[in-house]
């Protein structure tokens, strides 16, 4: 516990997101705004899902026991669906805003839908990660021994890694989802919803971290690869990037894609 665990877990959970923010988003004010609006949309979706869970709990009479767990599972699944719904709603909003920007600003290139997909996904992810982890983090700053009653001693580490994976997953899901909406394919949307449900459902197996965490990471890698190809990458561009032969890369940061 205390400072070491706090800083370690904080950087594990939020390091990639922070790096992505600093290098890609902090430079452009419009992207920051879209990020915060994305975070806000996730917040509203969380509000709605909490409300649904609250109402369900009130209906079943606030009893403890196994019904609480079932209600929680129900709450989680409903929450995932509502989050994806709000992702779609954000997509529609961005589409309208983009059209508005285009009519007003014909010369200035408006941010492309791909960029907005990335930014919105990151916004969702950051807010989701922050909300799930920040209370745990602040508890880790204080004194205590993890798992003293027989629970797993890796509680903080697991939560940190899970938060990291969820942030990255949200980002990838955003890219895939928006691309599916743009091309009017339904299967990317379905895939995003199903993988989200799968990842959340895997966490029901906690504290058997091996299964949930490892599978989540595998899903993240696969989703990442899919998002990479969806966003326009290819094996050739990857090779060029790795061998430092990509001349466009230097210009990348200066234009919005």
């Amino acid at each position: 516990m205390t400072a070491a665990v706090f800083f370690g877990c904080a950087f594990i959970a939020f390091g990639p997101a922070l790096a992505l923010y600093i290098f890609t988003i902090a430079t452009d004010p419009l992207r920051i705004i879209f990020l915060i609006v994305g975070a806000f949309f996730w917040l509203i979706s969380l509000l709605l899902s909490s409300f649904v869970w609250f109402v369900a709990r009130a209906i079943t009479g606030n009893r403890d026991g196994p019904i609480e767990k079932y209600l929680l599972i129900f709450g989680v699944l409903v929450s995932v669906l509502i989050q994806e719904m709000f992702r779609f709603a954000y997509y529609r909003l961005l589409k309208k805003a983009n059209e508005g920007l285009k009519t007003i600003n014909p010369d200035e290139p408006a941010p492309s839908m791909r960029l907005l997909a990335y930014v919105s996904g990151l916004g969702f992810g950051i807010m989701s990660g922050v909300f799930s982890f920040v209370n745990t983090l602040s508890d880790s700053l204080g004194p205590g021994t993890v798992g003293i009653h027989g629970d797993s001693p890796y509680f903080f580490l697991n939560s940190a890694f899970m938060t990291q994976v969820i942030i990255l997953l949200h980002m990838f899901w955003g890219i895939i989802f928006f691309d599916g909406c743009e091309k009017k394919n339904w299967y990317p949307l379905l895939a995003v919803i199903l993988t989200h449900l799968l990842v959340s459902a895997l966490t029901f197996l906690n504290p058997q971290y091996e299964i949930s965490l490892v599978s989540a990471y595998m899903i993240m890698v696969l989703t990442g690869i899919w998002a990479f190809f969806v966003a326009g990458g290819s094996r050739r561009s990857l090779k060029r990037y790795l061998l430092c032969q990509d001349k466009n890369f230097l210009l990348y940061s200066q234009r919005s894609r």
Partner: protein, 447 residues
């Protein structure tokens, strides 16, 4: 019950901050004449609106007021949006900093969450046996506080109308003196106590004296812009902390709501005191008390296709998104100073002008946003989710207000949308989201 010392000037300070924010820097004379026509018979809220259609028909004088001269209306819209995002971020940063300072202090220094008496403006206690009584007391507290604010504002407007500038300046200097010295001393004392750091009186005197003196110079006279901004953020945070400490819980929330409503009314109603204050300032072509307005300056370059006769003038007022709200208004167009004279050239040559344009935000906005977030941090049962939700809600409210401003192009109050969002999210997060997230975290489920 303990009454807070020097409450009068402290309250005055509050009122100054809340009441003077709506004032805007003066528009040059050339704008006034052109603007009088459409103003009459229009909704008072539109007195600062400059429709693009009007610009097209009016003479170049009017052009100077409303947009970058020589530009087509479509381009004017483009310019509005081009710097819209940047201005939003220029407001996000100081608001975020102020909130961060307040939340950090609330979470670490016990002093500001201990109940230690109330202001005389909220005389009714909230330690009552029944819920109804408590609610009644908080409503009464709000009424008293709000009426004090309204009376002070009207007093200020009257003073301003009758040109008692010395009185107003003395009042302002007294209040900043108190904030910069007394409140800083108390704050420093509490922080040192919290971290158990010993400091001798000579060192303390030196530190506080330097801090306060430089602050007075920066705020009331001249100083580097960044330093002035930092000082304004600091005094807003100090003021917000005082409110958080001395306002009882329910009263604070009701006061926040009531002030937003007052704000809305005072900006959009024709007889609001702040509207009158601003109009008087406009008529007299005077700046209003730069000590109470946070200003950020931005330099941007305008490229023009060909030299424009009206652009050769020394004074150009590019169109600024303006926002005004009763307590804490924002966004006066600062005097854009053309830093370099336009290059004389034959038609067709590109002219580049650098104009300094800043966004101004009243300190009361900072204060009330920070009060909301600070109260959420103080009373949200140690929950960071509530604080973060309120923070995001306030930022989104600010963003929306600026967007509405860009769309409607007329003066809008800054407090209502942000405070409304903040309140909604505070109560819903505290009561709905918190149990949900806590239960999820304890079972280690992730959504």
């Amino acid at each position: 019950m303990l009454t807070f010392m020097a409450s009068d000037s402290e309250e005055d300070a509050c009122n100054e901050r809340t009441s003077l924010m709506s004032a805007e820097s003066p528009v040059p004379r050339s704008c006034q004449e052109g603007r009088q026509g459409p103003e009459d018979g229009e909704d008072a809220a539109q007195w600062r609106s400059q429709g693009r259609e009007e610009d097209q028909e009016e003479d170049p004088d009017r052009y100077v007021c409303s947009g970058v001269p020589g530009r087509l209306p479509g381009l004017e819209e483009e310019l509005t949006l081009k710097y819209g995002a940047k201005h939003v971020i220029m407001l996000f940063v100081p608001v975020t900093l102020c909130m961060v300072v307040v939340v950090a202090t609330i979470k670490s220094v016990r002093f500001y969450t201990e109940k230690n008496g109330q202001l005389i403006y909220t005389p009714f206690t909230e330690d009552t046996p029944s819920v109804g009584q408590r609610l009644l007391n908080s409503v009464l507290n709000t009424l008293i506080m709000l009426s004090v604010i309204v009376v002070m504002t009207i007093f200020l407007v009257v003073l301003y109308k009758y040109r008692c500038y010395k009185f107003i300046h003395g009042w302002l200097i007294m209040s900043s003196l108190m904030l910069l010295f007394l409140f800083t001393y108390i704050y420093l004392g509490e922080v040192l106590k919290t971290y158990n750091v010993a400091m001798d009186y000579p060192t303390l005197f030196l530190v506080v004296w330097n801090f306060g003196a430089v602050g007075m110079v920066c705020i009331h006279w001249k100083g580097p812009l960044v330093l002035q901004q930092a000082y304004l953020i600091m005094i807003s945070a100090l003021m917000a902390l005082v409110f958080i400490k001395y306002l009882p819980e329910w009263s604070a929330w009701v006061i926040l709501g009531a002030i937003s409503v007052y704000d809305l009314m005072a900006v959009l109603c024709p007889k609001g005191p702040l509207r009158m204050l601003v109009e008087t300032a406009q008529e007299r072509n005077e700046p209003i008390f730069p000590a109470l307005i946070y200003s950020s300056a931005m330099v941007w370059t305008v490229g023009m296709a060909k030299p424009d006769p009206s652009s050769q003038g020394a004074l150009q007022l590019p169109y600024d998104p303006e926002m005004e709200d009763s307590c804490d208004s924002l966004g006066e167009p600062s005097y854009p100073e053309v830093l370099e004279p336009p290059l004389p050239g034959s038609p067709g040559e590109e002219l580049e002008e650098e104009e300094e344009r800043g966004v101004k935000l009243g300190l009361g906005d900072f204060i009330f946003y920070s009060v909301l977030v600070g109260k959420a941090a103080a009373t949200g049962s140690g929950d960071w989710n509530t604080t973060l939700a309120c923070f995001v809600a306030i930022l989104i409210g600010l963003c929306l207000t600026l967007l509405l401003l860009a769309v409607f192009k007329k003066a809008l109050p800054a407090l209502p949308i942000s405070i409304a969002f903040g309140l909604i999210f505070y109560f819903s997060t505290d009561n709905l989201v918190r149990p949900f997230m806590d239960t999820l975290a304890s079972h280690q489920l992730h959504i």
